[in-house]
């Protein structure tokens, strides 16, 4: 990799699910040495040990192949560019390994509910004494302290409690009947990436590390200011816009030819409207209800019906190209096959192929940035459970004999097989 501003930075990743693992991968993408610490006794949510015959989300759509915990697709994306060790933190000698890791680390990421790392013995007070230069990024759902201290949640709960779900439903459908939304994980992952940069600068000024007590809910609310601005300006409570814009028309999701094919068209000027008419039906221009931005706003429903009638017979990809070529912002509502085959993404060379001992060679999305005209390619795909136990323990000063002993006593591990036997 070439763009490695965090080369030399040591990161301990204690997170699970999405927001935390993704944040740690970002740091690995930037050259940091990220050690993902998993539990060897309690499978992470990303590594299931049980399945049912109809369950989705496993390599090659096969929920029965073993080892199951290495075949969960959810484990793959947010775990690139890390090494992995698996410990039993219930054991004193397991906690000692984590202590040694933390003592030499620059950054510790954790995404548990508030109170969990404290109970494990890795609260800020103790570990900042262990390593005064440590930067700890906590990224729980609601943050530490306050009446929700200790509450646990997944991303869907964050999207619900921030007002996001309220704003992204259908206008005519009760909010309790809307399907779940998942934006908070991505928002928090990026926020943690920025927080590490800010904290490193703070450390440079003060010589000391710091504890970032980030609440994923707060990040998401900062990313969706409109309901709060409506209150600030004394307006009516914000309601869902669906796929529309407060003033621009036509601006919506329109049906296209074929099953479940759609296009999002976002006209924002008179010029774009005229270009849209040229492509769809020049006669639209002459309808007095649609003649100006103000008229279209007043007749939004009629505009949408007229546009939908014209898009319905069109191929979404062809229409996207045709509209964009005349300057009308439009994008087909892609399925995943369309993402994978998109000519622009492929021409840019965005996707990358990487090998993996279990998954084999697969196509992955590239990194989030391209620097000086070139993509860096991830050096590692998702780690196997405990893949780097030995390597990392030797770096931490354990002898080969001690490492073997820790392995024999299951303080470190690389398999959940023993758990599965118990369950049977």
């Amino acid at each position: 990799m070439k763009f490695t501003p965090y080369k030399g930075l040591r990161v301990v990743d204690l997170t699970d699910v999405w927001a935390g693992p993704m944040a740690a991968s970002f740091l690995g993408d930037l050259g940091a040495d990220v050690i993902r610490v998993e539990s060897s006794s309690r499978p992470a949510i990303l590594r299931p040990t049980a399945s049912t015959p109809t369950m989705k989300g496993f390599l090659d759509d096969d929920p029965s192949a073993q080892p199951l915990w290495e075949r969960s697709i959810r484990n793959y994306t947010p775990n690139r560019n890390k090494r992995g060790i698996a410990l039993d933190l219930k054991e004193l000698s397991g906690r000692e390994i984590l202590d040694r890791l933390i003592a030499r680390a620059d950054v510790l990421l954790e995404s548990y509910a508030s109170g969990v790392v404290e109970k494990l013995g890795f609260g800020w007070e103790r570990i900042s004494n262990l390593n005064p230069r440590l930067i700890m990024i906590s990224m729980s759902g609601w943050g530490h302290g306050g009446p929700y201290h200790g509450y646990r949640t997944m991303g869907s709960g964050i999207d619900a409690t921030t007002g996001h779900v309220h704003l992204r439903g259908y206008r005519d459908t009760d909010v309790t009947r809307t399907v779940q939304a998942y934006q908070s994980d991505a928002a928090a992952a990026s926020a943690a990436l920025f927080a590490v940069g800010v904290s490193l600068r703070q450390r440079k000024r003060t010589g000391r590390g710091s504890w970032v007590d980030m609440a994923q809910a707060e990040v998401l609310m900062a990313h969706m200011p409109t309901p709060f601005l409506a209150e600030a300006y004394g307006l009516a409570e914000a309601t869902p816009l669906e796929n529309q814009h407060p003033v621009h028309v036509p601006f919506n999701c329109y049906p296209c030819q074929g099953e479940d094919r759609w296009i999002q068209i976002c006209v924002q000027s008179q010029e774009q409207w005229l270009a849209l008419c040229e492509v769809l039906a020049p006669s639209l221009r002459d309808d007095p209800r649609f003649g100006s931005p103000e008229a279209r706003l007043a007749n939004r429903g009629a505009v949408d019906v007229a546009v939908a009638d014209l898009t319905r017979g069109r191929d979404s990809l062809e229409l996207q190209n045709e509209l964009q070529n005349v300057g009308v912002p439009a994008g087909a509502v892609y399925n995943q096959a369309q993402v994978a085959n998109d000519r622009h993404l492929n021409a840019r060379g965005f996707f990358e192929r990487r090998p993996h001992p279990i998954a084999g060679e697969r196509v992955y999305p590239g990194l989030s940035w391209r620097v000086d005209g070139e993509y860096d390619r991830a050096e590692r795909s998702s780690n196997l459970l405990g893949e780097h136990n030995r390597e990392v323990l030797l770096e931490l000063g354990y002898s080969p004999a001690e490492t073997d002993q820790l392995s024999a006593s299951r303080v470190i591990g690389d398999s959940f097989q023993h758990l599965m036997v118990q369950e049977d």
Partner: protein, 402 residues
């Protein structure tokens, strides 16, 4: 109001100069992140082009668009405003000169547009080798769609995420305004601050190309790998709501499955349901979810949301209040953490504050209101470029700056 020197946790980016040449809320949000942690952020606007951030509103019912609107105030509080005309060669020269003095340049141009304005890293490197230039565009700085225009709704659609949102027999849904663009901007800011760290030790900056579409695909979810690794196209409406009415609102359960059945059963006083074959495995539960709901509904309706969430959480059940932004403003958790902060020093209405704090109970500084167009043009030209009074007067007369 300046950032007070004793507020250490709020000054980590003090001394960083950020030039933001942005047109949309995406660039503006990236600049906002730098400003909130102490950087000096100069927002360059074109007096000849209507700013979509300013026109978005909401606008005060009293004085039309005089204050630039709520979104502008939210995104641009504390920034300095420079007005320079893009259509004028002298105006463009002023912008690239400012860029040659900046630590970070944030812009929204594709490569050909940036080149025409002298804003690529290669063009700036002679005068400013350590500069970090970040271009945030919908599709990236080059490639077949580089000249296309897009909104965040379009990027959401083309990322494959929109298709999953909503009900199977209705049109796909967008997310709430600005969540997609803000995530893209936050990623860009995170890459930029990392690059600054690198530039400070190596002396060499770089040009960072952020494609909004790619930034989403790279970091937001598993959909793409679900398809490439198992051939599965997840359907719209995959995750049911799992939401229930309460005495005064609604809650969302993190997951409804056997794992949480025990806690639910104990919380609701129905211990018998853990043994009920209709509910004890995921397949059966999905088939009998209606019966399950019927059984549980009196329990949910018998409690207010806050109390119900507390009971369920204490029984190990993942859940959250399902609430609107208005309700969130008075949620006791965010109130206790003092998350909502005054919009700016002139409008004390509470809006989301900084997204994290560095080990501090100290509230963030209240920033000055977002600038009016060109409010700091003269000041910034003097401070950054040491421009003489006469030069500035000439540029003003030429209409290059305003």
């Amino acid at each position: 109001m300046n950032l007070a020197a004793d507020r250490g946790p709020w000054l980590p980016l003090e001394g960083l100069k950020v030039l933001e040449v942005s047109r949309t809320a995406t660039g503006a949000y990236a600049g906002k992140l730098f400003r909130e942690y102490g950087a000096e952020v100069v927002l360059v606007e074109d007096p000849g082009i209507e700013s979509p951030v300013r026109s978005y509103g909401p606008h005060s019912t009293r004085g039309a668009a005089a204050d630039g609107g709520g979104l502008h105030r939210y995104l641009n509080a504390g920034k300095k405003g420079v007005s320079a005309r893009d259509a004028s060669l002298d105006g463009r020269a002023v912008i690239s000169e400012l860029a040659s003095k900046a630590d970070v340049v944030l812009h929204e141009y594709v490569r050909s547009e940036a080149e025409a304005r002298g804003l690529t890293y290669d063009q700036l490197a002679d005068a400013n080798p350590a500069v970090v230039v970040v271009g945030i565009t919908p599709f990236g700085e080059d490639g077949p769609y580089a000249s296309w225009s897009a909104t965040e709704e379009i990027l959401f659609a083309m990322s494959g995420r929109m298709l999953l949102q909503g009900e199977p027999d209705r049109h796909p849904l967008n997310y709430a305004p600005f969540v997609v663009s803000s995530q893209i901007a936050t990623t860009a800011a995170g890459a930029a601050i990392a690059a600054v760290t690198g530039a400070e030790s190596s002396g060499t900056g770089c040009g960072i190309d952020i494609s909004g579409l790619e930034a989403q695909l790279s970091s937001v979810d598993n959909l793409f790998l679900m398809y490439t690794m198992s051939g599965w196209e997840p359907p719209r409406g995959l995750y049911p709501p799992y939401t229930y009415p309460t005495a005064d609102g609604a809650i969302l359960l993190g997951a409804v499955g056997p794992r949480f059945l025990d806690g639910m059963a104990r919380a609701a006083g129905h211990p018998e349901i853990t043994l009920d074959p209709r509910f004890s495995n995921p397949t059966a539960l999905a088939e009998h979810i209606g019966e399950f709901d019927e059984l549980m509904l009196p329990f949910f309706l018998g409690h207010e949301t806050v109390e119900l969430v507390d009971i369920l959480q204490n029984h190990g059940v993942l859940c959250a209040p399902l609430q609107s932004g208005r309700t969130a403003l008075s949620d006791p958790q965010y109130a206790r953490r003092k998350f909502f902060q005054p919009l700016d020093s002139e409008l004390p209405a509470p809006v989301p504050g900084p997204i994290f704090r560095l080990e501090s109970e100290v509230p963030p500084p209240v920033l000055l209101p977002a600038p009016w167009p060109g409010q700091h043009t003269v000041e910034v030209l003097r401070d950054w470029l040491s421009a003489e009074q006469e030069t500035i007067r000439n540029l003003l007369q030429l209409g290059a700056i305003a």
